[in-house]
């Protein structure tokens, strides 16, 4: 989980701080918890928002992820791995939420998806994403919106890289079909 725009020295310092905070969280230090939350909250909320498409639910999932991580921090063998650990928890909780959602029977309106405004396109993309199965949606979001590598997606979803590739292929094809159905444009 490499953050963009940081030098190697900065990354090393952040990693060291994080190890220190994890150690303190193990002893129940609330200031260290606060520091870890500040460090990861934005990314966690963004991932959850992109997957769930609901700001409030995303915040709730992010909070739940932190609580679960702090509760089970004794299970974490390597303190340097907290980043991956918290994102894995968040992804799992998002998947649980998606699976527990009732499938919507909302019909996709046929119209000019790309010729409309940016907002309209965004709304359409959101609705098309909801048509995908939880596994396909999560893979597509992590790869395309979060711009993670195949290995990172595989690690977060705890599946082999080959599965990520095949899911991504299926997700793109399904999304393309839905896009064509909804906009009538065949160039995607």
């Amino acid at each position: 989980m490499v953050q963009n725009g940081q030098t190697a020295a900065e990354r090393a310092e952040i990693r060291e701080n994080q190890v220190n905070w994890v150690l303190r969280v193990r002893r129940g230090d609330e200031a260290a918890m606060d520091a870890l939350v500040s460090m990861h909250r934005q990314r966690l909320i963004r991932v959850a928002s992109n997957v769930l498409r609901d700001r409030h639910e995303a915040e709730d999932v992010a909070q739940e992820s932190f609580l679960k991580a702090f509760r089970e921090i004794r299970k974490l063998r390597d303190d340097r791995a907290f980043s991956g650990y918290i994102y894995r928890i968040c992804v799992r909780l998002c998947m649980d939420r998606l699976r527990s959602r009732k499938p919507t029977s909302e019909m996709i309106e046929h119209g000019d998806g790309t010729s409309g405004s940016k907002v309209e396109t965004k709304v359409l993309v959101e609705r098309l994403l909801q048509e995908l199965t939880p596994d396909l949606r999560m893979t597509l979001v992590l790869r395309e919106m979060e711009e993670l590598s195949y290995d990172e997606v595989a690690e977060l979803m705890q599946v082999p890289v080959g599965t990520v590739r095949s899911r991504l292929h299926a997700a793109r094809n399904r999304f393309r079909e839905l896009w064509i159905d909804s906009t009538g444009e065949a160039h995607l």
Binding site: G28, S49, Q63, R71, T121, R172, H187
Partner: protein, 99 residues
């Protein structure tokens, strides 16, 4: 094919959610954590507290039994009430007879 993929990637990236910084988020997490710990402590001590309450009630009941009068039979009770009956006929009248 690559063009299509790029278009799809751009489309999805544009639809990515912008996250606003929420200052209350950290407080909410810490508050929920504290509440959870408090609840955990309560759950841990609940059996001990329940045991202490039961023991206390038992102790009070025992004290009550030990200090209470022995229960009397109906025959004994009747003889006692007969003894306690006041000789009302010899008592002076409080009402003025002349009036």
């Amino acid at each position: 094919m690559n063009e299509e993929r790029d278009f799809l990637s751009d489309l999805l990236r544009d639809a990515s959610v912008e996250v606003e910084e929420s200052s209350e988020f950290n407080d909410r997490v810490i508050r929920r954590w504290k509440l959870e710990q408090h609840r955990k402590k309560m759950m841990y001590w609940a059996p001990t507290m329940a045991g202490a309450i039961v023991a206390g009630v038992g102790f009070l009941a025992m004290l009550q039994i030990m200090t209470a009068q022995p229960i009397q039979s109906p025959a004994e009770l009747e003889s006692q009430t007969a003894e306690l009956e006041l000789p009302t006929q010899n008592l002076p009248s409080l009402v003025d007879d002349a009036s």
